[in-house]
C-alpha cells in the first residue's frame, strides 16, 4: 500500500501522500517541529477561549508527550500503524477511568479547545497548496466537482442512516 510502487508520475511528487514515509522520518526533527505547532496552538487557544497559556500549558505538555510517543511507536514498532493512530490510542488509554492520573489529564486537556487545535493545521494547509490542486480541479471540470460533493455527502449520510437505525434497533 505504498505510493512508491505506483507508476512514476510528475504529479506524485507534489501530492502529500508521496511526501514521506512515516517509518523513515527523523523523530528528533519532527519533535522540534511539534514544539512549534504546540506553541502556535496554545496561543490560538488563548484567543479562542480566553484561557491563559500558562493555565493551559500542562494540558499542552500532555498532548506533546502523546504525540512524541506516537512518532516513536510509528517509527520503531515491528508492525506499522500510522502515528496519528498511535497518538489516539495512547490518548484514550491515559484518560480511561481507573488509569492512574487519568482524571488529572482529563482536567488539564480540558483547558484546550478542540477546534483551536485544528486551526494551525488548516492555515498550513492553505499555504501548502500549489497550482497543482487548482490545475487538477480545473482539468477535471465541473462534473468531477458535482461527483466530489456527492461523494462527501454520500459517506456522511450513509453513515448517519446506518448509525441511526442501529441506535434505534438497540433501543437507545
Amino acid at each position: 500500500m505504498n505510493a512508491s510502487n505506483a507508476t512514476p508520475n510528475q504529479a506524485d511528487a507534489q501530492l502529500p501522500f508521496a511526501n514521506e514515509d512515516e517509518r523513515k522520518v527523523p523523530v528528533a526533527g519532527h519533535s522540534a517541529l511539534l514544539l512549534i505547532a504546540c506553541a502556535i496552538a496554545l496561543i490560538g487557544n488563548w484567543v479562542a477561549t480566553g484561557t491563559h497559556p500558562i493555565a493551559a500549558l500542562p494540558g499542552m505538555v500532555v498532548l506533546y508527550v502523546l504525540c512524541v510517543l506516537g512518532l516513536l511507536l510509528a517509527r520503531y514498532m515491528p508492525f506499522y500503524l500510522p502515528r496519528i493512530a498511535w497518538a489516539s490510542l495512547l490518548a484514550i488509554v491515559v484518560t480511561l477511568p481507573g488509569v492512574p492520573g487519568s482524571s488529572w489529564i482529563t482536567q488539564q486537556v480540558g483547558a484546550l479547545d478542540f477546534l483551536a487545535m485544528a486551526t494551525p493545521a488548516l492555515a498550513y494547509g492553505g499555504l501548502a497548496l500549489t497550482q497543482t490542486e487548482f490545475a487538477i480541479a480545473r482539468r477535471s471540470g465541473w462534473k468531477i466537482i458535482v461527483v466530489a460533493i456527492c461523494v462527501m455527502f454520500g459517506t456522511f449520510i450513509g453513515s448517519v442512516i446506518i448509525a441511526d437505525l442501529a441506535l434505534r434497533a438497540s433501543g437507545q
Binding site: 501522500f17 511526501n19 483551536a116 454520500g154 448509525a163
Partner: protein, 281 residues
C-alpha cells in the same frame, strides 16, 4: 528583485505567518447564519484555510513579495505535524465517555459500512447522469483521501482514467471539503429525523480537517452535548483509520469495478484494464 532568504529564515517566516493567521481566525470566532430551515456555521478553521490561500505565494504571485516562495516549502510537512496534537486532544475525549461509547458500539461499528455511501450516491450520478467513463471508479469508490489515492495509484496508476477521477475528487475535497463538512451536519440535523449521536459518529471519515469541521459544526448547534459528540466522532475516526483502507481494498474497489462492468459492459477500456491485470499476474 526577489529576495531569497536561507531556509531557516524562510521557516521562521512561515511559522510567523501561520501564527498571524491563527490569531486573526480565532479573533473572528464562530459565525452563525440563520436560514429558514437551519443554521450555516462558519468556523475559524475555514477562515484559517482561506487566509492561508490568500497569502500563498504559489497561488497569488504578488504575495511572493510579502512571503517568499521558499518559506512555504515546509508547510506540507507542518500539516502532518500540527494535526497530531488535534488528533491526540480528540483521543482524550474518548476515555471519560468510554461507557457510552461501548453502549453505542454496534452502531459505531456498523456505520463504518456507511462509508460505502460514496458508491451508493455518487456512482449512479457519475455513470448514469453525467455519463462519465472509468473515471467514475476512482472518483466514487471512496472519499479519496491520501491512503485511498495511494491505492488507486498502485492499482491503475495516476495517469489512468481511474487515477484522474480519484485525483479530481481528492483535489476538490482538499479545496472545499472543510466547507462542505462544516455545512452538512447542522443542515441534516435540522431535518429532525436523526439522533445527534448518529450524526456525531458519522464525522469520522478519515480526514482530520473534515473531522474538525464536522464536529465543530455539530458542537456549535448542540453545545450541551459537546463531550459526547467529540467522543463519538473521535471513536469513529479511529475506526476509520483502522478499517478504512481494508474496506477500500477488499470491498469498495472490487464492488465499484464490478458495478462499472455491469453498467458499461461494452466499454473497451474495461478490456484494456483486464489485460493489464493479466499481464501483471
Amino acid at each position: 528583485v526577489e529576495h531569497k532568504p536561507p531556509s531557516s529564515l524562510g521557516a521562521l517566516w512561515l511559522h510567523a505567518t501561520v501564527l498571524g493567521i491563527v490569531l486573526l481566525a480565532e479573533a473572528i470566532g464562530i459565525g452563525r447564519l440563520q436560514l429558514g430551515f437551519g443554521t450555516v456555521i462558519f468556523l475559524p478553521i475555514l477562515y484559517a484555510f482561506a487566509l492561508g490561500i490568500a497569502v500563498n505565494p504559489h497561488i497569488f504571485k504578488n504575495m511572493a513579495r510579502v512571503i517568499p516562495s521558499s518559506a512555504v516549502k515546509l508547510s506540507g510537512v507542518m500539516i502532518t505535524i500540527t494535526i497530531m496534537p488535534f488528533i491526540a486532544k480528540f483521543g482524550t475525549t474518548v476515555g471519560p465517555q468510554i461507557e457510552k461509547i461501548i453502549a453505542a458500539g454496534p452502531a459505531l461499528i456498523l456505520q463504518e459500512i456507511g462509508n460505502l455511501g460514496t458508491i451508493a450516491l455518487a456512482f449512479p450520478v457519475a455513470v448514469f447522469l453525467l455519463r462519465m467513463g472509468r473515471e467514475s471508479i476512482g472518483a466514487t469508490y471512496s472519499i479519496d483521501r491520501e491512503p485511498n489515492l495511494a491505492l488507486i495509484a498502485e492499482r491503475y496508476g495516476l495517469n489512468s482514467p481511474e487515477g484522474a477521477g480519484a485525483m479530481g475528487v481528492y483535489a476538490t475535497g482538499t479545496l472545499i471539503g472543510t466547507f462542505i463538512f462544516a455545512l452538512m451536519p447542522p443542515l441534516v440535523h435540522a431535518l429532525g429525523i436523526f439522533d445527534f449521536r448518529a450524526l456525531a459518529m458519522s464525522c469520522g471519515v478519515g480526514s482530520g480537517s473534515m473531522l474538525a469541521a464536522c464536529t465543530g459544526g455539530l458542537v456549535a448547534i448542540l453545545p450541551d452535548e459537546k463531550d459526547l459528540i467529540l467522543a463519538l466522532a473521535a471513536a469513529s475516526n479511529i475506526l476509520t483509520y483502522a478499517t478504512g483502507l481494508y474496506v477500500s481494498l477488499f470491498v469498495a474497489l472490487p464492488l465499484t469495478e464490478w458495478l462499472y462492468r455491469k453498467a458499461r459492459p461494452h466499454d473497451p477500456a474495461n478490456h484494456r484494464h483486464q489485460k493489464n491485470q493479466e499481464a501483471r499476474t
